[in-house]
């Protein structure tokens, strides 16, 4: 069911030059495998997966301690076993990111909004809207939102339309070079890993590989706002990455947690 040597090479490719930080890896494991209320992961399973991912298993205890302190997870002792679950806060955080991570396509839009701040004052109102929407700052005092934005009395000029002319400099601001480079790097690693993956695998190594793919994808994806293709450069590599990620995840389906715990106990 699992071709362990090939998968181990795939794991090495996925983590080369850029091993995940343990707490961030653990967040991805929960977000990908145990996001529903009642889902629990044992400390032993988490340590085994970290080990497969090339992380030192003893660092998992520290990461779990930190995540509990930060309100992300709760722990419960069940006999000699420690079980961990996401808190309501942790579930909300994971649920907020999930639609974007697992979406099979970039967003589309039928409405555009431009907001302008007074150029001679600090643009706090603009930053506030930028933070709660997927939008592109154009200089210090302008924001382009690929969506309608409700009228609010925040001192901003607001204009909405179904159409907008988007010149190349806006696309360059929306999809900066360093994120293109990150996507191209990820795409190269995914393409090298692809031939090493079986058509279908639900082993513990397979599950870890799956989590590492989600992790690498999420780390680039969440560095930029969720923008439609119309707003991104023509050579934007995000969508080809999305397609490879979707293909690879379909070959490494989400395992049943009980099965995974049994495998980790072997």
């Amino acid at each position: 069911m699992s071709n362990a040597p090939d998968l181990t090479r795939a794991v090495a490719i996925l983590t080369e030059n850029d091993p995940p930080r343990v707490w961030s890896f653990v967040v991805t494991v929960f977000g990908d495998l145990a996001q529903r209320e009642g889902d629990a992961l044992s400390g032993r399973l988490l340590a085994r997966m970290a080990d497969v991912a090339g992380l030192r298993p003893e660092t998992v205890r520290v990461a779990l301690h930190r995540l509990r302190k930060d309100g992300w997870i709760d722990s419960h002792r069940v006999g000699r076993r420690s079980d961990y679950t996401l808190t309501a806060f942790g579930r909300a955080q994971s649920a907020a990111a999930a639609p974007r991570i697992y979406s099979d396509r970039a967003p589309e839009t039928k409405e555009w909004t431009v907001l302008l701040a007074n150029p001679s004052e600090p643009a706090a109102a603009l930053a506030e809207v930028a933070n709660r929407t997927n939008a592109v700052l154009l200089g210090d005092a302008a924001l382009l939102v690929p969506n309608s934005v409700d009228e609010i009395d925040n001192g901003l000029l607001r204009i909405c339309s179904g159409e907008v002319d988007i010149p190349d400099w806006v696309r360059a601001l929306a999809g900066p070079e360093e994120i293109k480079i990150a996507y191209r790097g990820l795409h190269g690693r995914l393409q090298r890993a692809e031939p090493l993956l079986p058509d279908r695998d639900t082993s513990l190594v397979g599950a870890t590989t799956r989590v590492l793919i989600v992790h690498s994808w999420r780390r680039v994806l969440l560095r930029h706002p969720d923008l439609p293709a119309a707003l991104l450069p023509e050579d934007w590599p995000g969508e080809q990455c999305r397609r490879v990620v979707a293909d690879l995840l379909s070959r490494l389906p989400r395992p049943v947690l009980d099965t995974l715990e049994t495998l980790a106990a072997d």
Copy 2:
């Protein structure tokens, strides 16, 4: 038909602290009284009107020379009399300003456009559009046009809509304080002159008073782009000036040029 002492006081009020420059006064005389093809004004009439307006009549000759050199007017000798007419260029300039000067209301709009320039480049394309439209620059890289703007490949982001939220800082940029002050000054002078004007007057002094009203109005009006009330400050004094100007001009109707020449020859 004319109450000369009162009108002379009105002229003094209209020119106090701010006598027109002679060449500019002559341009207004042509624009207001002799804008049609074939309309001619004699040098004598222009000198008489300048005299009534408190300008030295001998400066008229210099102004006419300059205007001829600049291509605004042509001159023709008819016996001992010199006649002056607007050139095609002069008529075009006058005709371009006339609709705004004599309009009985500010423009209205159903379409708005925001144009944004790349904030890290000089905004030449924006300045070009600003020059050929009635629009408001919002900082270095944004322009608000109270109109639709056709798509052109000029590197600007363009968004058009029938609706826009216009905050106070935009109104303050569209209608700056120094122009409000100029309008308030003009309004005060017009209100003080108003009781001195007869209900109807077509004398040479009346015609000069009329020209001075048009001149004062045009000098403030053309300092700012032609913008709808929705884009101007709530306390914008432009419209109350427009109403007083229209009222006073209706009491000093445009005289027949031949009659005026006869009056000037007396």
